[in-house]
Amino acid sequence: MSEYLLEMKGISKSFPGVKALDDVSISVRPGSVHALMGENGAGKSTLMKCLFGIYNEDSGEIIVDGVKSKFGNVKQALEHGVAMVQQELNQVLKRNVMENIWLGRFPLKLGLVDHRKMYDDTIKIFKELQIDVNPKTMMSKLSVSMRQMVEIAKAVSYNSKIIVFDEPTSSLTETEVEHLFRIIDMLKKRGCGIIYISHKMEEILRISDEVTVMRDGQKVKTSPAKDLTMDIIIKQMVGRELTNRFPPKTNKPGEVVFKVKGLTAQYQNLQDVSFELRKGEILGLAGLVGAGRTEILENIFGVATRKHGEMELNGKRLKNKNSKDSINNGFAMLTEERRVTGIFGILSILENTTIANMKSYKKGPFVSDKKLKGDTEWAINALRVKTPSQKTKIRSLSGGNQQKVIFGRWMLTKPEVLLLDEPTRGIDVGAKYEIYQLMIDLANEGKSIIMVSSEMPELLGICDRMLVMSNGRLAGEVDVKDTTQEEIMTLAAKYV
């Protein structure tokens, strides 16, 4: 038995024109959490893809439990005790929990699937991990965090020794994160080696034993977590001193411009929400997942059906019957799941930038190519989007650049109120800073912003005021300058 469960030695991988990995080595001890950090494009995913055989490394070797290994695909890796809990959960939503866990290796009895054994085995694993889910529940009925727990249980069911967590907490609330950490602790005690990929430094410092930082396809350093601070990690990641995670707050909220009274949704859990928004203000919406934060934005923007409630912008009553009406009234909405409801993946930057603003490009019965190109050019420059050309497909950009394009899309419609749902999800530290700066610039120009986020430090760092939602209702307002996480969590649990 070697000292390490997993050793990846001198891994290099090139793609045409890019050296994605340059002589990277990492070693994972049994019963420890090894964090992997780095900005998007630093090579973390490429390294993991080499481990799982999705890419073939050009040179280097992979040693699992003392044996030199080369997996052909994810399934083979799983069978050798190497599992991945992915950021984008790959699950069969229309089938039940136990079928998802045993898919690809159903237990058989006389050639038919043995449902009882499948059920019993699932229950056994769930008990061990303290997961409270009925194995017969349809997958689509579970929350994202529960689905993730199922994915972990699946990894455990394969007797995995090495489990890779890729951004596991990006859509979890604080309580759910606690549960996840308890499970990771249990896995550690069983002697598993965990590779933990995340952008969230508080988490990394809390749960990892060792941290490897990567930059531009190279390993910067592996250090024991206890020797690290947030500043050191950031410095290693960006290769320069980044003194602040948040830009200086220069915006000054003015008079009240937008009022919401008694907002109640027809189908969603949202009841009697009233608040006011000032000119040039950034208002944060906190709360657990499902507390009604996204629902507020959807009801304001008219993409969800309102039961009752009144809205007033600059003293004028609004209906916001649908998204088109809302855009005309000066609203913009950046949706939560960028890849699903934000970008048009196979369309170009130009098409993605201009889609919400088509009416201003009309020239007779046609649209003016010149105007389209001009506006796209403006957006690329104003937001510093890194792209080879306007014709590039948006899906080939990094998450941060995609988000900038969507910001550009909404700036072209000249909104007064921006509704931002998790605007920095899945974006690396450097790009996050740019998005924050952009929000403050917008506020300085007199735009008002309502922002939903699951990252408490982000809300505290960027907002002027914060509303806390609990179970579809407004639980209270906190002053960002002198509130505590405890105060916010207490409010978030008020109506649960």
Binding site: V74, K75, L78, E79, N90, Q91, V92, L93, K94, R95, E99, N100, L103, G104, R105, F106, L108, G111, L112, V113, Q266, Y267, Q268, E298, V303, A304, T305
Partner: protein, 363 residues
């Protein structure tokens, strides 16, 4: 279970009624709304029966019911095959033509020896089992071609089967010109074969014979139910239809699963061809024309969704019966054939629209 425990759990029916009584007025309305949406198919079925029965009370007699049963049984076999393709978010346009080809092959090889204008004079009737295996093989082959191109070249089944459907039709046209036939309908089917399909165990004197092929359809339904719900292949089919990527990552052989679904579908078309040849008695190049469209409509009415990964065998059965009941009912009401098409279209649209509400998440 102890008496105490059973008392606590209570009778499911009374529990359910208590739950309903505890609802407030608005929620009661919503409860009824959900009830109608969840049971739309059956409600449409009942309304239809009531309307026809009011106009023509004889409709509820055995004869028309038997007529519906027979029509359904003959359409059901194909629908059971095509349903798998729909669960994979696909479709199969070649079904009707494969039925046509296999029906012509069955009929030609099983013409009775003393029939005057045999297609292949001098060639004795084949053993029925051989012909059955041959047409199954033909169906499987077309299914294999469909499945291969869908899975290996990632082509949409619509396009693939659009192409194979043409090729199969061409083959039929060539085939019906073989021997002495020159494109004429193929009839003079062997008595034994005909009896095997259309005979009945219930004595003729009862005047309500249930032909054998109805039983065959029921047996096939049971087999398909087992394949869909109790085998690894069936569960893999649902998984691939719902999320092929996840299935692949879990080690499911996606290409093989897709191919097998199409092969199985092809086999079912072969079986339908074998049944139809004897049931119709006179087969030509146009046998089976557009049969796949009825089968697809039946599946979709029965809740086999084109969104993938959703569908049940029971739904296919109900869909097929509903569709045939509409046809028979309209005949009983003496509605002209022209109007029958229009009404059928309207009912399909309505049924599917209501059914879709189940899957919509309202905002």
């Amino acid at each position: 279970m102890s008496a105490k425990e059973s008392a606590r759990r209570g009778n499911p029916l009374t529990n359910w009624m208590d739950n309903y009584k505890n609802l407030e007025g608005r929620d009661k309305a919503r409860w009824w709304g959900n009830f109608f949406i969840n049971n739309a198919l059956y409600i449409v079925l009942i309304i239809l029966i009531v309307i026809v029965t009011v106009q023509k009370p004889e409709f509820l007699r055995l004869r028309p019911m038997l007529d519906i049963l027979q029509r359904s049984a003959s359409g059901l076999v194909m629908a059971l095959g095509i349903a798998g393709c729909i669960v994979l978010t696909g479709t199969d346009l070649s079904a009707g033509r494969v039925l046509g080809l296999t029906a012509c092959v069955s009929a030609s090889l099983l013409q009775s020896n003393d029939y005057g204008s045999k297609m292949f004079p001098g060639m004795p009737k084949w053993p029925t089992v051989f012909v059955f295996l041959l047409v199954i093989a033909i169906g499987a082959l077309v299914g294999l071609v469909n499945g291969f191109f869908v899975s290996k070249f990632s082509l949409h089944p619509f396009i693939v089967s659009l192409a194979t459907q043409l090729m199969v039709y061409g083959t039929i046209l060539i085939y019906v010109n073989q021997g002495t036939n020159a494109g004429k309908p193929i009839s003079g089917i062997d008595k034994g074969y005909s009896e095997f399909i259309k005979g009945s165990v219930i004595p003729e004197s009862w005047k309500t014979p249930i032909p054998h092929f109805v039983w065959y359809a029921i047996i096939l339904t049971v087999i398909m139910w087992f394949i869909w719900n109790k085998t690894t292949f069936g569960k893999n089919m649902y998984a691939v239809g719902s999320n092929p990527e996840a299935a692949n990552v879990s080690g499911v052989n996606v290409a093989l699963t897709i191919t097998l679904v199409f092969v199985l579908a092809g086999i079912m078309y072969g079986v339908s061809g074998f049944i139809e040849a004897a049931r119709i008695g006179s087969n030509s190049a146009s046998t089976g024309l557009n049969a796949e469209l009825d089968a697809i409509a039946a599946c979709v009415i029965g809740g086999v969704s084109f969104t993938g990964g959703v569908g049940r065998i029971s739904g296919v059965v109900v869909g097929v019966i509903l569709l045939n009941m509409i046809s028979v009912a309209l005949q009983w009401l003496a509605v002209s054939a022209d109007w029958t098409y229009i009404i059928k279209g309207v009912i399909i649209l309505a049924a599917v629209s209501i059914d879709m509400q189940k899957y919509l998440v309202k905002k």
